[in-house]
Symmetry: C2
Subunit: 618 residues, 2 copies
Amino acid sequence: MDDDRLDLAGRLATQLRVDAIRCSTKAGSGHPTSSLSAADLMAVLLIGHLRYDWDQPDLATNDHLIFSKGHASPLLYSMFRAVGVIDETELITTYRRFGSRLEGHPTPILPWVDVATGSLGQGLPDAVGVCLAGRHLDQLDYHAWVLCGDSETAEGSMWEALDKASYYRLGNLTAIVDVNRLGQRGPTELEWDLDRYAARVEAFGARPLVIDGHDLAAIDAALSQARMEPDKPTVILARTIKAKGVPEIEDKNGWHGKALPPDMAAKAIAALGGPTDLHITTPRPDPGSPAITPAPDTPITLPRYPLGEKVATRVAFGAGIAALAARPEVVVLDGEVGNSTHAEEFAKVAPDRYFEMFIAEQQLVASATGLAVRGYRPFAATFAVFFSRAFDFIRMAGISGVNIALAGSHAGVEIGQDGPSQMALEDIASIRAVHCSVVLYPADATSTVALVAQMADTDGIVYLRTTRGAYPVIYGPDVTFTIGGCQVHGASPSDQVALIGAGVTLHECLAAAAELDAAGIAARVIDLYSIKPLDRSALIEACQVTGSRLVIAEDHYPAGGIGGAVLEALADAGVPALRVAHLAVSGLPGSGTPGELLDAAGISAHHIVSAARKLVGR
Amino acid sequence: MDDDRLDLAGRLATQLRVDAIRCSTKAGSGHPTSSLSAADLMAVLLIGHLRYDWDQPDLATNDHLIFSKGHASPLLYSMFRAVGVIDETELITTYRRFGSRLEGHPTPILPWVDVATGSLGQGLPDAVGVCLAGRHLDQLDYHAWVLCGDSETAEGSMWEALDKASYYRLGNLTAIVDVNRLGQRGPTELEWDLDRYAARVEAFGARPLVIDGHDLAAIDAALSQARMEPDKPTVILARTIKAKGVPEIEDKNGWHGKALPPDMAAKAIAALGGPTDLHITTPRPDPGSPAITPAPDTPITLPRYPLGEKVATRVAFGAGIAALAARPEVVVLDGEVGNSTHAEEFAKVAPDRYFEMFIAEQQLVASATGLAVRGYRPFAATFAVFFSRAFDFIRMAGISGVNIALAGSHAGVEIGQDGPSQMALEDIASIRAVHCSVVLYPADATSTVALVAQMADTDGIVYLRTTRGAYPVIYGPDVTFTIGGCQVHGASPSDQVALIGAGVTLHECLAAAAELDAAGIAARVIDLYSIKPLDRSALIEACQVTGSRLVIAEDHYPAGGIGGAVLEALADAGVPALRVAHLAVSGLPGSGTPGELLDAAGISAHHIVSAARKLVGR
């Protein structure tokens, strides 16, 4: 960058500072001091390094800019003003207001924002997913630039991210760490000990570049160097001063997340030379061609299963994603258990679109998020219970509005001998609560492959729960399964009770219905394979026919699972659940056979029969 | 260790191998190969370094032995046999059986097990909590020895743990990493690249010791060295061979988590010399005195708040824990937001029992778990939403049966301008589902301090949800609040509708009731401050009086929250919820003032009034 450009960068940095102060002071809240420390870094990036066509945010060759330190949104939005995509009025008068797209922390409601940030330690992991796409799938030379805070390096997820970035040789990834020494409540753990930061970065396989984060030429050199590194992620460790540019509060504790009072802001802005109206042209990317052309209409041949054959739904999941490999946008991510979840079936047919994340579930989900940003349809698979490790990432993926599929195997006490640490018994409750989530739990192989095929076209956070053991195929290949649907077995107008199950308990319900039938009690069975959304009309009809006698059996703890979903749906519909027996796993399970544990949990067929008899009064 | 002892260690290692094979083959499942790789390490530890009185597992001066790689339970239980606390019959015939205490992964159902493991990357973080107690509170010289897998070093939580261990100078912590090169589905990321492991360990402030994990003398030397290091955690990086001792499957992929078939087991056991009956005496700890004497009866003076004064419940939380500081067993952990959660009030009065975990929520909860193992009553505090980052740790704490308090501030859309990334809207659903959890959500300062005081005596995972903004004190100091209770406002036998809220929506319910009253509609308000367990009888009575007309308003997503809790409780009680209006946050919120966001979410007073009028038909 020549001296003129460096001079321009200096003036831009000043404008970014002024604007960050202006918008946050006007809003009365926000993080100006965390914005000021990074203004020089971002000014040089914007002028000399970020290749971005602001008129075409969807251009496949655009670089990516991710604020992992999302609280520095005043800086980000000031950058957007400087490149002309938002105007001064919007910036200054709408920031953090109700209805504004300039939210407290960035979300993809803005077309130039890839992912929602604000939960620290997520932007960098998400960027790893973006860069996996760039290097290994798109094979385009876009670069991801991630502004990180120093405080967030305390999150283990940052190290999962660097570890995977180096493992996958992501030279297209640059983290820029704004080491301003101060966190929210006081000094950070490592303060300005850049050597220790550098040692950690290097040990995790990335290239550290230590610079003065207010030296424009040094920033320019580091960013240039970062782009030229082919096979290693770069981490620019920039020593900065919090609130840089407002001397009276520079490097002072107690100013995190505080807008400057109007008088102090006015003084600071004046000292910085007052508002300016620089408009910046950033480097343009190659026009390029689209990286990935999804082919949702590709014919998919799903496996067919003979009725009665015993097939684990996790095995069917593997077969389903293998069939989906015909679609170029489908990508699979494994959490080092691909031989258990059967995700590895995909690797056998599409190894180039299969990524091993090892035992790092946070990065597993973050990689899916980043790949979804690039237009892929990722399926991330691990044991159902270990998605709890990534719950915050799943939550943020919901806010990011990405479309990702999560496949969790080995649900519930059904897993047997391994014991409670491996049993997902909270997953339905927790994932149901996530914004834009879908929760599926099929009982047999036919319904599993049918649902897996639809997951690739279903928006949101689409979670599939599969079972460890093999159970009989109960549906022929022509039965239809839909997101939000259910299957009703043995319905008659004289049904006295409805048995509601999903997954493994559906088989218990079917066995119970047969036993009840033998005793002269007519029972229908509802296979609630789609727990969210669910088929409200089938539940209402069941209530109408049976006098609202429902037995709900689930391999999950009692709170917030299938029982909660059914009761909430009926309450919303104004159809009271008059007589409900809710069978769920109470107490802490141990080891045992699946049969012993289902029985001990009170969710096996004979418990369902007893509950139904009690409701019916016979 | 002299040659005789080393020889004994060798024989013990062989017995451990034989027993690990025997019990897993008999069970037909388990992880013998992951046990065999670490048998030499554990044999030397047991004979020469673990100071433990097996007859007194609660002795304050005992060392701690934590299997972070919990799947190596055949090895752990074989060690228990060797020291004589379980017998051969129990080991061989009950392992992984229904009803056995020898579960697939260890849980504290066994008196010599501190914490449940099996979710990888948690044992070491838990041990950091144990060692924080040892070094900074108990000031006893017990040591924690943690057997880790190499695969689990991919979990970011392991690095959060080492980071905090070095920050707090935990020389009393030794991680022993069994680097056997093979994970579940294939080679680990770093395989046998011990240098890279060592660089990472060193960069995170711990002392790496690289050894051959089958060289007994080298193991002995490393363990001795580890104990002598006063101020740094030690990480022994032991190069080992998976399945060591069974040559035909040594270092072979495809044998993870598989019991040897009986014929292969018989051959292997014979080759190892057959079953033996060594009984080992381990080094004894100093008799010592109890580390911490809890004083639950210490008089606590809770702050009193004038009715009508506006006080944020997070502020009251700070005051409550400051009052609890009079009890020596109460400890507070902060996630670098102590000035927001007001946890820092505790630091002002008991700085020695306040630990800063920086932004590492997994370690925040794990530290609480470890401190609870040592008999403390930890309160871990961060924003409510960021406990989602530690959800798997919370789940495992439930399985571990520890008693920990979690205080989450800034719940719901009420936080306002910061936007959705900072809003806990899934926390009630997810934490309700956890085994042994308690969920509290008080509306005012008086009820908050009363509940905080009780949290220190409430077993389980006790979660407190607090609000950002200041709201009027509505209870005088003599009102009683109990876990499982509620407060009913304005109840009369002629109530036509009940308004159920908690936290911020309780205030909206009270305003709505006043408005309804002015319109001649009698409404009672239920303050459901205890969401789990909840006061079923108050709900039933409300249904009986009002004809089951309930309006439930919650600052949480619709699935599994307060609405789910109420509906589940009524269904269990057989009292149908005939006419329920459930008001919860639908859609994705943005920024705005708390009032704007509560209103946009449909949970403010006027929405409650409309819903109540609709139910009542007026």
